[in-house]
């Protein structure tokens, strides 16, 4: 019987590179999930700016569903499609970890502040008010699922616009800073397309590697 061929150094380097690329999909990369998030954010931004207030109930429900649908699709894609080869967790740099913790703390503080304000106002508990408060309370747990700066901006915007829509209002977008949202959307779409292409290339390299690796080396 022939001896199993030994993996050479270039082959081991190729294994390292494929692992690094695929592990990104357990970290900040979401591929097509990011594309969807960016597209939903753009649609919501334009709709808030163009549709007349008050929004019809169907539009309110649709916009309220945007963040939940996005998170559900993004996480399903991540687990079922991008992690089909199993999970490899990438090393997270300390600065990224610190930024993530900072964003989470800010989100918790904003959520707590808005909740306290809503509770302090003595008004009857309508469906709109409960819905608004529900989305405000959803901010911190959802922020845990936003793994990049663009995802964070788009995700927080989608949740905030959902809360405002449920309450029967809309954003006017007269402030200059709101331009940040479409910019982040475009950035997220571009990043998503790039990540998806990276995944397809990594998958192809993995299949090629499998053919070159010593089979049942032991």
């Amino acid at each position: 019987m022939d001896a199993a061929p030994r993996p050479t150094l270039p082959l081991l380097d190729a294994l390292n590179a494929v692992t690094r690329d695929l592990s990104k999909f357990a970290g900040s990369a979401a591929g097509l999930g990011s594309v969807l998030g960016g597209a939903l954010c753009l649609v919501a931004y334009l709709a808030h700016g163009l549709l007349p207030a008050p929004l019809p109930p169907a539009a309110r429900l649709t916009f309220a569903a945007f963040p939940l649908a996005w998170i559900a699709v993004k996480e399903t894609l991540r687990r079922r499609y991008y992690q089909r080869f199993g999970l490899a967790v990438p090393p997270v740099p300390r600065t990224d970890r610190a930024v993530g913790i900072f964003c989470l703390i800010v989100t918790c503080a904003v959520s707590a502040g808005v909740t306290a304000t809503v509770l302090a106002v003595n008004r009857p508990w309508t469906v709109e008010r409960v819905g608004y408060l529900a989305f405000v309370l959803l901010l911190p747990p959802c922020a845990l699922l936003f793994r990049s700066a663009e995802e964070f901006i788009v995700g927080v915007f989608l949740l905030c616009q959902a809360a405002v829509c449920v309450a029967g209002h809309r954003y006017a977008f007269t402030e200059t800073y709101t331009i940040l949202f479409p910019i982040a959307s475009v950035g997220l779409i571009a990043a998503g397309v790039h990540q998806h292409r990276l995944f397809l290339a990594a998958r192809k390299r993995l299949l090629d590697l499998r053919a070159r690796l010593p089979q049942e080396a032991a």
Binding site: A4, P5, R6, P7, L9, L12, L15, N16, A17, V18, T19, R20, L22, S23, F85, G86, L87, A88, V89, P90, P91, V92, L206, L209, R210, L213, P214, Q215, E216, A217, A218
Partner: protein, 130 residues
């Protein structure tokens, strides 16, 4: 079978033989735990990530479940790999992490392998650099 030639058997080793022997001596220092092809692949995959699931290792290396279990158990007993058992949703999941000791063993092995590669071989007749 012809008896060995006494004149060559007792002669001092040639310069070429001495050089080759000196150059190949590091082979004896290779860590056999890392040297095994399957374990080398496992360690290489683990070196590029914080932690890696069993299924990922299986997909990348193409080893069978039994083989993979046996090799990871050996690496764990050598202190090169740490094993975490948890649940991912309702499914039990086993993940592996390279220990600092495992990373050092892999780095040393790769360095040694690079030293031994033909491109690093000294020109014939010259002694290897130590």
């Amino acid at each position: 079978m012809t008896p060995p030639d006494k004149t060559t058997a007792n002669a001092p080793p040639s310069r070429l033989t001495t050089n080759t022997a000196a150059r190949l001596r590091p082979i004896l220092d290779l860590d056999r735990m890392v040297h095994e092809p399957a374990r080398l692949m496992i360690l290489s995959v683990l070196a590029s990530a914080e932690s890696v699931e069993f299924k990922f290792l299986e997909s990348l290396t193409g080893l069978t479940k039994g083989n993979l279990s046996s090799h990871t158990a050996k690496l764990e007993s050598a202190g090169y790999v740490k094993v975490h058992k948890s649940f991912r949703g309702r499914t039990p999941s086993t993940s592996f992490q390279l220990t600092p000791r495992g990373l050092k063993a892999l780095t040393d092995y790769r360095q040694l392998l690079q030293t031994l590669s033909p491109s690093n071989a000294p020109p014939a007749g010259k002694p290897p650099r130590t």
